[in-house]
């Protein structure tokens, strides 16, 4: 089973205009672990990256860790990276050959998923609750003239978290990406960087699936179950801790390096050669 990752630099440049694109050390080591684990337990990986992100990858010769290689992507200019900061994922999904697993760079999959995905068309890591502060009534979005939500969409369908998304069918993928992009294009300019993004990424997909009568398999039905499972590591909000708590960051990086060393010696060699991680190789 194939998997793929994506890196889009535009959201980065919104905050750090004066520097080139870089991945933080904890992002980098997590990606290495993720790729190593996926290649070991599931299959070949590929990276899609825009020009600046690709430069970062190639400067460090990281293209070698993806057994299906890397490919440059061009995310449409009209996607506002401040609002749709995960727009690069959808572009990468559009380019990927299916079936495949879309994996966030902060997600590690520790088990073989083949058996569990064999009979599925669509699979996600978990479903989300329809909390109105995060998933408001879609009709409350200020849309440009000419946009209409498809009549067959049922907005009572629970959103699906796509930190890991398995898609089998290219036709479904095409419709999902097309509708997500259409929503992005027609949204009036906004500073809300949460609700529109999660609508496009996490709500349109299961809504289309439901309209088409396709089931969406979730590894966890409730988010609480994530704390009891042994398949996924998702850094999620922990990245904020790593960002502001250097003590924690240091120990996390050391732990990751140890794990690489213990279980993925080839990837460890790559990690040990990276300047970003040299201080944590103990």
């Amino acid at each position: 089973m194939n998997g793929f990752y994506s890196l889009w630099s535009a959201p980065w440049f919104l905050k750090k205009r004066n520097t080139g694109f870089v991945m933080q050390d904890y992002d980098l080591v997590t990606l290495l672990l993720s790729v190593a684990a996926f290649e070991k337990y599931n299959g070949a990986t590929k990276l899609y990256a825009d020009k600046d992100a690709m430069a970062f990858v190639k400067e460090r010769s990281l293209e070698r860790i993806f057994s299906r290689g890397v490919e440059e992507m061009e995310v449409p200019q009209w996607i506002d990276p401040a609002v749709f900061w995960a727009g690069g994922k959808l572009k990468a999904l559009q380019m990927e050959e299916l079936p495949s697993v879309m994996i966030d760079t902060d997600l590690i999959i520790w088990e073989n998923l083949r058996e569990r995905l064999k009979a599925q068309q669509i699979a996600v890591i978990h479903r989300e609750e329809l909390r109105p502060q995060i998933y408001p009534d879609p009709h409350s979005f200020a849309m440009k003239e000419g946009y209409r939500f498809p009549a067959e969409w049922d907005f009572s369908v629970c959103p699906a978290n796509t930190a890991m998304l398995y898609l089998k069918d290219g036709a479904f993928r095409d419709e999902y990406v097309r509708e997500a992009f259409r929503f992005m294009q027609y949204l009036q300019p906004t500073t809300d960087n949460l609700c529109p993004m999660v609508f496009a990424e996490q709500r349109i997909m299961p809504t289309i699936a439901q309209a088409k009568g396709i089931g969406v398999y979730a590894f966890c039905d409730r988010i609480e179950q994530l704390r009891e499972q042994h398949t996924f590591t998702h850094l999620w909000g922990h990245k904020n801790v790593l960002k502001y708590n250097y003590d924690e960051r240091r120990s996390f990086l050391q732990r990751c390096m140890r794990r690489l060393k213990a279980e993925f010696p080839q990837m460890y060699e790559v990690a040990a050669g990276l300047e970003e991680l040299e201080d944590y190789d103990i």
Partner: protein
Amino acid sequence: MARNSHFFVLKYLYICPFTDKEEAMGKLFAWLDRTGGETVRDYDNRINHLQAFHAGYAFLSLENYHKELSAFAAYAVWNGEFNEKLDDPLPPGGFMLHCDLTTAQKICARPEGFPVFVKLYAKRGHLFADEMTLAAEGQVFDFYFNGCEVIPPEHMGLVFAGARKPENAHYDECVQESSTPVAGKMPGVTGTTAGSYSGGKMLPGSYWHGSYWKGSYPKGRYQGGSYQSGSYRGGAFATGSYWQGSSAGFGYAGGFGLGSYWHGSYWRGSYQGGFYRSLLQGSYIGGSFQNWWQFFGGSYAQARFGIGSYMGGSFRVFFVGQGSFWQERFGTGSFGMGSFRLRAFRKGSFWNNGSGITFLSLQKESMPLADNGAKEAEAKTETSEYADVERARHRYRYIEEMGYGLDLI
């Protein structure tokens, strides 16, 4: 209780009106910048050997105290200029510290906030906040970010607003207005701390306020340790009446304590001419650079540099050839990481017997690792033991809920 929603909008958006703010604010932490001729490695070395310094204040209130955890969720206000220099500027919320209820009640009786000291860490030219401590009631507390939720304490309104009540007369010098934009602040922390002066001591936040210092205080009221915790602004000293009165210098030599800062502009004309100017201008001093007068007067052998002292710029030239001094006086870890490089010191022996070497050895011994060629099983065992320690620490700090499956690594 830990959640990832720790960005808050400050309820009390009161801001000090800086008079000469742009210029002065830009200079206060200039020593955190890379200087023109400084390589990335030299910069990292310099920063990594600085002592922790005063970078902000934490406001505590009992409504943010969790008895079941014996911990405070703290609201922090950072020096905006300092914060802007960090690669990842620190947020106001999400910090925690542990203390028992008795101590908590004692701490909360003081509404002005407590100084937070930050150890900096530089890597490849990028600046990060490392370990943080909070000083309160004669104790030092581990102050760390775990993303916890915090309610901005109500009493911050008083401190921030500088309410002009008789009992708060000492706040009057800091006239504050709401929504005045101030450069270099975190979103949600646009309010800088109020200038607050009381009884001859600098209270938290005073160093933000430019107008506060302008010659308005009588001579000699700030003797001794009143200035500790880095409560200085560059330009203010040049005109402040206090400094003219006590320019003999010796009286406050010890007052430049933890995190003190002074800038060339302070020295211009106020001190003994060109010698000091050339020595100090453009230099940076972080940490406890003590007894400086003796140092500058040439009797360097009697000078003592506290832990974490650092000198740069023209000091290096000054010390060329005086190697024995360093060996005798810097053996406390100040430069003891084994990687600090100042060619001007020219004393290899310091590095060989400094505590830094010992530190590195201890670190390796206390964290047994498999060699490169060790069997995987051994490495896994060690990883597992290490993970146990990590898990225990996470539990203590209530960090584990911020992601999931973290213990699978």
